[in-house]
Amino acid sequence: MLEINNISTFYGNIQALHDVSLKINEGEIITLIGANGAGKTTTLLSVSGIVQPKSGEILFKGEPIHRMKPDKIVQMGICQVPEGRHIFPYLTVSENLDMGAFLRKDREGIKKDLEQIYDLFPRLAERRHQQGGTLSGGEQQMLAISRALMARPRLLLLDEPSLGLAPLIVQQIFEIIKKIKEESGTTIFLVEQNANLALKVADRGYVMETGRVTMEDKASSLLSNEDVKKAYLGI
C-alpha cells in the first residue's frame, strides 16, 4: 500500500534520513522503533508531505506522492497524529474533532463517528466545550488521536500515541489501534518509544538508527531479538 524507496530527507543542511526504505501492506500494522533523534518522526513527516525528501520516492497505492502538497496527500486518505499533539488551541474539543473531518462531506457519517469517539473517550465528551489549549497533556493526546480517526483514514500515521498517557489509557489506546485495524481495515504506521507495547500490536517492525533502517522483521521476532531487547526494551 505504501512504499518508501530510498528517501533522503534534509533539514536545511542536516541530513536526517539516509536512503530509508519501508513497505506497508494493506491492512497491516507496522511499527518503527528507534532511539531519540533516529529519524522516526522525519519519516512520518516525509510521508505526509510536511517535509519533502530530497531524493527517493514514496508511492501510495502505486502513485508517487513525495512531490505532493500535504493537503493532497490527506485527500488520498493518509492521516497523521503528529508528535507534540498540535491541538488547535482556541478551538473547542468538538471543533477540533470537526477539523479532523475537514475533507469529509458525509454529515451523517461524521456525526456517527463523533458519537463513537465520545463513547471511546468519555473524558473528551465531558470536555467537549473546553478550549483545546487548556486540556491536560493526556487529554490533548486523546484528542489528537481522535481527531485523526475522524478523518477515517486509509493509512493512519501515529507518532508516539502513548506519550504522556496514564497506564490505563495507554492500554486502551493500543486496544483501539487493534480494533480499528480489525474493524475498518485501516492500515497503521506506528512510531513508538514504548517498543514493548508497539511490537505486541504490530505485524511487522522496523528499527531505525541515526537516519537509517537497520533492521526489519516480524514484530514477534524483533520482540525476542537480543539486540533489540537490550537497546530498546530496557530488559
Partner: protein
C-alpha cells in the same frame, strides 16, 4: 511522617484548591515533603497534577489553601508569589511540554539557571569589574559542572533546539539544578524516552537526591520509574487526593488500581 521533630518539611501544602471558571481542577489537596525525599504524584490524565505544580510554582494563583516552604533561602507562604520569587526560595521545576530556550546554547541554557543566584547589574556588565568577572566565571564553571553530572558536556556548545528529545529533557533538569533548588519539581521527565533512557534517568534522579540532598517531587506515568524511585506516592483523581503512601501500599490500593493503574499495571 515527620522523622525528626526539629526539621520542618520543605514544602507544606494545605487544602490547595484551584478553580478554572466552573471547573475545580485541584480540590483541597494536602501534601508534605521532607528534605531529601523523593515523592511521586500520579493520577489519571486531567487529574490536576500539572495544575498542582503550576499553583506551587507561582504560574497560577490558587483559589484557596496554603503553600508554605521552609528552605535555606527563607520560610514563606508563597500563595500568589511570582514564579521567579518561588524559584529564588529554592523550588525549581521542569515542564511537561519542554520549554527550553531553543536558540541559546546548552551551556547558556544552564547559565540562565544561575541568574537568580548571581547579582551583576548593568554597571557591572559594562565595567566588567573583577567581582563581576569572577561571578561570571563561577557561573560558567558551576553550569559546566552540572552538565558534567548530567552527561551533556559534549553538547555544551550545541543549540538547544538541535538536541535530541531525551537530551532536551535532561537539559531541563540541568537548568533547574542550576538554580540551587532545595526542592525539584519534575513534570513527566521520562515522557518520550525509551525504556533504556528511562533507566538512565532513574539513576540520575536518585543521584541528584543522594549527592545534593535535594528533595524531589515528580509527576510521571511510567510506573516502573515511579515505583523504583519514590519514597512516597500521592495519587490524585478529579482534583482530589485519593491516596497516599509507600509504593507498596499504592500498588495494592484497589481504588488506585481502578482509577489509574489498570489490572496489569506494573511493568
Amino acid at each position: 511522617m515527620k522523622q525528626n521533630d526539629q526539621t520542618l518539611p520543605v514544602l507544606e501544602v494545605k487544602g490547595l484548591t484551584m478553580d478554572f471558571g466552573g471547573l475545580r481542577a485541584v480540590d483541597h489537596v494536602d501534601m508534605e515533603i521532607q528534605n531529601g525525599e523523593i515523592v511521586a504524584l500520579i493520577g489519571p490524565n486531567g487529574a490536576g497534577k500539572t495544575t498542582f505544580f503550576n499553583c506551587i510554582t507561582g504560574i497560577y494563583t490558587p483559589t484557596s489553601g496554603d503553600i508554605i516552604v521552609h528552605t535555606k533561602f527563607g520560610e514563606k507562604r508563597i500563595n500568589g508569589k511570582k514564579p521567579n520569587q518561588v524559584t529564588e526560595l529554592g523550588l525549581a521545576r521542569t515542564f511537561q511540554n519542554i520549554r527550553l530556550f531553543p536558540n541559546m546554547t546548552v551551556l547558556e541554557n544552564v547559565m540562565i539557571g544561575r541568574h537568580c543566584r548571581t547579582k551583576a547589574k548593568v554597571i557591572g556588565a559594562l565595567l566588567r569589574d573583577p567581582g563581576t568577572r569572577k561571578e561570571e566565571k563561577d557561573a560558567a564553571a558551576v553550569s559546566y559542572g552540572i552538565l558534567e553530572k548530567i552527561g551533556l558536556t559534549h553538547l555544551a556548545n550545541e543549540m538547544a533546539s538541535n538536541l535530541p528529545y531525551g537530551a532536551q529533557r535532561k537539559l531541563e533538569i540541568a537548568r533547574a539544578l542550576a538554580t540551587e533548588p532545595v526542592l525539584l519539581l519534575l513534570d513527566e521527565p521520562a515522557a518520550g524516552m525509551n525504556p533504556q533512557e528511562t533507566e538512565e534517568l532513574t539513576g540520575l534522579i536518585r543521584e541528584i537526591r543522594d549527592q545534593d540532598k535535594i528533595a524531589i517531587l515528580l509527576i510521571e506515568h511510567d510506573m516502573k520509574l515511579v515505583m523504583n524511585l519514590s519514597d512516597r506516592i500521592y495519587v490524585m483523581d478529579h482534583g482530589q487526593r485519593i491516596a497516599a503512601g509507600t509504593p507498596m501500599e499504592i500498588k495494592n490500593n484497589p481504588e488506585v488500581i481502578k482509577a489509574y493503574l489498570g489490572e496489569e499495571a506494573d511493568a
